[in-house]
Subunit: 423 residues, 2 copies
């Protein structure tokens, strides 16, 4: 009983066969379901709790943030460009299946042949996709000399510079490929990472993973801004997906970019920001509020009354000092302090048990942001924060990564980065 | 700005003051809210999404399983029995507040005094309790000679014996006190552990923690049996809380126990069971089903058609071999194989990133069970499983703990284990 008494080749052949079917003309066993094929066009988000994989932009960026995150960075171990493309094709077919509530391999016999490993690992068989989105991007390291992609690296895609106060763990930073799976169900999100890792076998391996949780679907106040693990509302002045002007100006890569395969794409930055919460929790309320520049209870900016009141950076106390301190987080992060630059934040809280060295909780924010050009957006903002933010006393950046997220998939047969490899 | 420019004593005094108020006669600033006091009786579960802390048994055992788990084991560092009791009283007051949707310290000024640290850490300020339950138990080590409790240790509370195949990590096993926080919102569950750890400062420290996730609240099929990370339905033949006969026979400690303070309580066993999922995922479907003794798709026992069909352990194949193999998991775990003994299972799936040694996913089942006597229930069942279970090829037990969970709190002024310390 077990893995030793049978060859694993049949399973691999089935994976590859399916992949080639998808990446090529028709869909084989691993491909999209007949129902979707027959419709002759990509499925749209007409079904409740489903977000279409297909569109001008990848889902999971403008999509309203789901409750749970499973993120993974992969390193490609194969040096065969076709193996890499096959894997990306497999992922695309499986992503369509999972986001439409089907198991990997579809609803057919792929999971009921007794004399083979099921194509799907099974833990999400009965579960609603719960707004599952799967977003895939490529790290700077993918554009080294392994795959002939050197000349296709966008200028905007490069390793982030070192920032003041960085305490990065290289083992959970970077990566050739980044995958963001978001869903309102953690089992559905994890299912994606697990099955992507399985389909990657022989081609890529997991480098690091991160789970996260965010706003809750069970509260009756679900439209209020969620709080981070410091107890403050976080994301009040975020870009709204409905504001297509901001999305075009700050998030999507336009046609003037240096690499046409990235038109309609975006750049993803992740930062694992550990909070020194035991220390934070001993801080006076007035000091906590001065650090953020907001009231803790309401989220209102200092000097304001309600969360969405305008942040008045010029307001003074009676003694002439700034009402919002010079090193307050909202002052340093504000577009007005950063030449009008904005980023689309989409982070999640995380808790990863106890730091073995100190016995303190390892918890904080897995910061995610999307932007049209990190060098003009995240980098200068973070440089300012890293140098001056009052919050720095209570946080440590422990992981960092950047990925070029290509545009959305046009429909069955398209796959993540197809234009990168075929133009 | 920060922790160095002010004394921390005021905060500590406020904690202790509140604790003494609760543990003593009246409720002080840290105690229960006026509304609850005025009602003159414990709050019941009349409010949607609230489960009362008070009752004959602790909540979180018979309570229908919520979606998310945050579990923590604490070690007591103080040797002062009064400090320990004060902490348990603080926890009880805070538990009532958190399970009724209030912040720690109540809805008053305890969180709005600018010149003090807020009593509540704040990340759950706006959140619904989402059926939060908080269940507290005591490990065998608490009954050593530190607190004068040696003679009060129940015979049923002792360290579990070693089992075949154990690969336990001592740093995440055992503990003086165990706390199980369950909610449909992970931020609410984590909030409990974090604030308990904060209130424990100077008296106890976190030893290990574990997050878990389970059935989903977003599926339309939420009443079906959830699947574990091996893709199989798990818990089909569990004790149902509605079956009060089974609960009395197998879960609750009766009046004939050797320690009266445990009457109405139960014994909690936790086992962190890592699944070798990459290996499992290469196994043929027929072999996976033989390991469990159930069909993967439907959950039906082999030879049956539907999930809840009776498990027929005597059924034979045409060649005379057992239809449900001799080493199948459901055969070895079945009450019929274990002298009729049952346990109440309440486990959660977990995913803790990547095993740094192997690059494989560290994921599996955080097994939780409740029973009237582990020596008669969990221990013989696990001994049989550890020796023969076909599943052993694919799992590793990496953490183990046992806790005596005292009966429920009678209302405001009662606290976890009060009878243990005051009888």
């Amino acid at each position: 009983m077990g893995t030793d008494d049978k060859p694993t080749a049949p399973s691999r052949r089935r994976f590859l066969g399916g992949a080639l079917g998808v990446a090529g003309a028709g869909a084989a066993g691993f491909g999209v379901s007949r129902a979707t094929e027959d419709a002759g066009r990509p499925a749209t988000a007409a079904v409740s709790n489903q977000v279409s994989l297909y569109g001008a932009h990848q889902a999971g960026i403008a999509t309203p943030a789901q409750d749970r995150l499973a993120f993974a960075a992969f390193d490609v171990t194969s040096t065969d460009p076709m193996a890499l493309q096959t894997m990306l094709g497999l992922w695309a077919a499986a992503a369509h299946q999972m986001t439409t509530g089907q198991p990997v391999g579809g609803n057919g016999s792929a999971n009921s042949n007794p004399a083979a490993p099921p194509l799907d690992t099974g833990e999400a068989f009965d579960l609603d996709p719960a707004n599952l989105t799967i977003t895939v991007g490529f790290g700077p390291s993918l554009f080294d000399d392994r795959f002939g992609l050197t000349d296709l690296r966008p200028a905007a895609l490069k390793d982030l510079p070192a920032f003041a106060g960085d305490t990065l763990d290289p083992n959970r930073s970077g990566g050739d490929i980044g995958v963001q799976a978001c869903s309102n169900d953690p089992q559905v999100a994890f299912h994606v990472i697990r099955n992507f890792a399985r389909m990657a076998r022989g081609t890529a391996v997991l480098r690091w993973t991160q789970l996260g949780f965010g706003r809750t679907s069970t509260t009756s106040k679900s439209e209020s801004t969620p709080r981070n693990l410091m107890g403050f509302k976080d994301g009040t002045n975020n870009i709204l997906a409905e504001n297509t002007g901001d999305m075009d100006d700050f998030v999507w890569v336009g046609e003037s970019g240096d690499q046409s395969w990235m038109t309609g794409g975006s750049y993803l930055v992740t930062r694992r920001i550990r909070m020194l919460i035991e220390s934070w929790d001993t801080d006076f309320l007035s000091d906590q509020e001065a650090v953020f520049g907001r009231a803790k209870s309401t989220g209102a900016p200092l000097g304001g009354h309600q969360e969405f009141d305008t942040v008045d950076l010029s307001a003074k106390n009676s003694d002439g000092t700034p009402l919002i301190p010079k090193n307050a987080h909202i002052r340093l992060a504000a577009p007005a302090t950063n030449g009008g630059m904005k980023i689309l934040r989409r982070g999640y809280s995380y808790t990863d048990g106890i730091d073995a060295d100190t016995g303190l909780l390892d918890a904080g924010l897995f910061f995610i942001c999307y932007q049209a050009d990190p060098a003009k957006q995240f980098v200068p903002i973070q440089r300012r924060l890293g140098q001056n933010d009052a919050l720095n006393e209570y946080i440590r950046h422990t992981s960092s990564a950047v990925f070029a997220v290509p545009p959305g998939l046009s429909g069955p047969g398209d796959w993540f980065g197809k234009k990168l490899f075929t133009t």
